[in-house]
Amino acid sequence: MTDSFQREHRSLWQGVLGFNVLTAIVLGIVGFFVGAWIGGKIAVGHDYLIGTDQNDVGMFMGYLFGTLGWLAGLGFLNYPLSRMAGRPPSLRHHEFGGVGRYFRLCTDHKVVGIQYFFGVGIFFFIGGLNAMLMRTELLRPTEHPFSAGQYLSLVGLHGTMMIMMTSAFIVGPFANFLLPLMIGARRLAFPRIEALTFWLTPLAGLVLMSAIARNGFPTGWTGYAPLADEARAGMDAYIFAFILIGTSLTLLGLNLLTTVLTMRAPGLTWSRLPIFVWGVASTAILMALAAPVLVAAMLMGLMDRAANTGYYIASIGGSPYLYENLFWFFGHPEVYILALPGFGIVLEILPVFARKPLWAYRLAVAGMLGVALLSFMVWQHHLFVSGMNASLRPFYMLTTELISIPTGFIFLNAMGTLWRGRIRFTVPMLFALAFFFNFLIGGLSGIFLSDVPSDVTTHGSYFVMAHFHYTIMGGLVFAFFAATYYWLPKMLGFTLHEGLAKIHFWLMFVFFNLTFFPLFAAGFVGMPRRVSTYAPGLQPLNDFVSASAYVLGFSMLIFLANLVYSLVFARVPAPDNPWESKSIEWQLPTPVPVLDFDRIPVFNTTPYEYGVEDAPPVASLEPSPVPVGS
C-alpha cells in the first residue's frame, strides 16, 4: 500500500535535462552575470565607488539574480507559476525514483534529510580543511607559509563554514528525516519550503566560497563593522551568504515548529514526545526568532557597502555598536541552535544503550525550554569590555550564570539515565558519552567567561576559542557523529563498518582534547584570537596543538573512508532495528517506505519503556479506526 505512490522512471537524458542541480548551476551563473551587468549600470558614476576597482552593487545584484536563477533551475518557481496559470493544487510532485531525486527538488522529507546530510557535510569538511591550513600557519610565530591576508581569510572561511553552514548540521539531516517519523506524520508542515530551506544552503556555501575569488574577507565569522564596511569585495559574498542562511534558518524553524505543534499523531501527548523532538522544537523557536535579526544586520551592512549609508560608521552618525548588538542578539541564540539539537540527540541515544528510561524527563524538557528562553537574554556577555553601558553588566552576568541551571539539568538527566543501567558501548554510545565529557569542560569554562572580572582577562583570547570549540565541536560535532552512526543505517539502509568507526571515535576523542585543552593555557598566557603571529615562546605549545590537530583531521578522513567503504563497496543491508530501540522509527522497515506509515499510528507510551514489564509498543502501527472525539 505504501508503494502505491507514483514514482516515474524517466530516461537518463530526461533526468539530466530536467530541473535539477545542474540546471540550477547553469541558471545561477547566468543569473549572476545578468545581475552584475544590471548592478554595473546602476552604479555608474557614483563617486564613492570610483577608485575602488570593485562594484559592490554589481556583486550583490549578481548574487541576487544568481539566487533566482538557482531556484528557477531547481524548479521552485514551477508550482507557484502553475497555480497562477490556473492549474489545480497538488499535494505531491510526481517524483523521480532512483538516485536522481537527491539532486533535485524533492518534497519527500527523507530525501531532504539525506540531501542535508551530504550537502551540509561537505562544507563541514571544507571548513575542517581550512582549520588544518590554519594550524599549519601557526606552526611558526611568523607568517609562513601563508601571508597575513590569506590567513585572515582562512580564519573567516573556517568560522563561517563551521557556524553558518553547519547551523543545520543536526537539525537538517536528522530533524527532517526523523521528526515526522517520531511524531507519526508523513511529512513536515510545508514540504516545498522544506526543500527550499535545503537548496538555499549549498547555494550559500557556494556564494561563500566565491569570496576566495575576491581575495576573501578580513573580519572572521563575526563580520564586525566598520571593518566589514571597508573590506574588499569578498565581504559581499559573506554578507549575501549569511542572508541566505538566515532566510533558510527562519523558514526551517517555522516549518519544524508548525509541524510539532499541529501534526502530532493521536495519542502523542506532550509528555510522551521523544526528547529529540523537544530539542528540535526549542531549536526551532530560536531559529525563527533570532535568524531574522541576523538578516537585518546583514542588510544594513550591505547598504553601507553598496549604497553609501552610514549605519555602522561613527563619523556620519552611525555606530559600530548597532552591528555588534544586532549580531550578538542573533549570535548567542545561534550557538544554542548549535547546542540544543546535540542535547536532544544524546538524551535520545542514552536510554537505548543504557536500557533505562530517560531519567527526569520533565527536567530535560524544562532544561531545553529554559535554555531557549534565556538564550535571548544573555548576548551582552560578548560585549562586556566593548564600552557599552557598563551598568548593565551585573544583569547580564546574572542571566549568563543562570543559563547554566537548565544546561545542568541535561547533565542530571544523563547521570540518572546511566545510574544502574546496563551500558552497551556501541559507537553511538561512545560518542554520546564523549559529548558529556567535552560539554562539561566547555560549559565550565563558560563560567569563567560569564564572570565579568574573569572575562576581562580572557575575552578575545584563545581561552574563548577553547571554550567554544569544546562546546560546539565537543558538543555538536560529537553529537552529529553519534547521530550518524546511530541513524545512518536506518536512513540509508546500509551498515557502517564498526572497526573503522571505533578507530574514528578514539582518535577523534583523544586528539580533540589534546588539540583544544592546551588552548586554555594559550589564552591564559595572553595569546589573542585570529593572529598569525605570536610570542616566540609559545611556539612549542602551538606546534603541539597543530600536531594534535593533524591527527584529529586524520580521524575525519577515517570517517570518510568508512562512509565510502560502507556505502559504495560493502553495502551490507542494515537490519530493521540493529540497536533494539523501542523508538518508533526503529519499528518501521529499512529502508523506510515512501509514505512512511501504512496508517497514521496511534501512540501509547513514551519511547523509553525499558525495564518495564509488559510495556506496550510505543505506538500501534496498524491501529483500528478510532471514533472521532475519543
Binding site: G51, A148, G149, L152, P218, T219, G220, Y224, P226, L227, A314, S315, P320, Y321, A354, K356, W359, A360, Y361, L363, V385, G387, N389, A390, P394, M397, L398, E401, I405, F409, F411, G416, L418, W419, G421, R422, I423, R424, L433, F437, L444, I447, D451, V452, P453, S454, V456, T457, H459, S461, F524, G526, P528, R529, R530, V531, T533, A535, E609, Y610
Partner: protein
Amino acid sequence: MSEVRGQRIPRHGVRILVVWAVLSAIAIPLVLLVLGPHLPPGRMSNEASAQTDANARLTALLTPILLLILVFLAYAVVSFRQEGSAIQDGPPMRGHNGVELTWLLVTATIVVALAVWGSYTLVRSSPGAGGGQGPSAAFTPSGSSQAVPIQVIGQQWAWSYRYPTYGGFETRDLRLPVNTLVAFHVTSLDVTHSFWAYRLGVKADAVPGVDNIAFVKARDVGSFTIRCAELCGLWHGHMFGTGHVVPAADFRSWASQQQTTQQPFSKYLGPYSRTYFPLPLHRAG
C-alpha cells in the same frame, strides 16, 4: 531500596561520593595554593589582582564540580555495564523528586552566588575590574576624579597615546606612574580594536566615536605587553607593543619633557578630544 530479588545492590552513591570527596580534598588546596598564584594576569595592578583572585576562586569552585561529574562518568562506565552478550534492561527509574529538587537548588545557589560575588567585585571591591566601561563609567574607584587621564588611540595598525594633562602631546610610548589611579580613555580612528594590557589587567575596546574608559592603578614598576584583542584587519596580530610603569616622579619629569620637545609639532596635532572623526571619510580620487 537496597535489596532487589534477594541480591544486595552495591552502594554506588556512597562509593562515588567517597571517591569524589577524596579527590576534591586533594585538588582544591592544590588549585588554591599551587595553581592559584600562577593564574593570569598577575598582581601588577589592583585590577589585575582582582581578576587573578576571581580566576582562582572560579577554578577552585569549578574543580569539585568537574570532579563530581567525571568521577560519576568513570564509575558508570566501569560499573554499570551490560554483562555478557544478551541485552538486558535496567531498572525502570524515571525520576526522583528529592534528587531533582536538590540539584536545582544547589546549582541555582552556586550560580547566583557566583553572580553576586562577581557583581561585588565589579561594583565595589575593584570597580570596573580593568574592563572598558564606556564614556560614563558606571563603576569608578575612589579618587577617580583625580585619575591621571591617558588617551589610547587605536588605528590600523598601531597604538598611540596622548596625555591630555600635559598639553595633549602624542607619542607611541606608553608610560604610567606607579601607585596612581590612571584612567585610560580608549578610542579609535577607524575600526574597532581592543586595547589589552595583559599584566595590568586592562582590556577595553577601541571603538570609533566612543570614549571607552578603563581605570587601573599599577602597584609595581615594570613593563607589560600590549596587544590588540579585536580583529581589525590585516596586521591585527602585529598591533602589539610594550608599556612601562615607572615611578611617579619619573613619569612627571618624562611627561613634562615630552610636552616641551613636542611643542613645535603640536600645532599640527589638533586639540585633544575624547573622540575623533578625522577626515577623509572616503579619499576621493
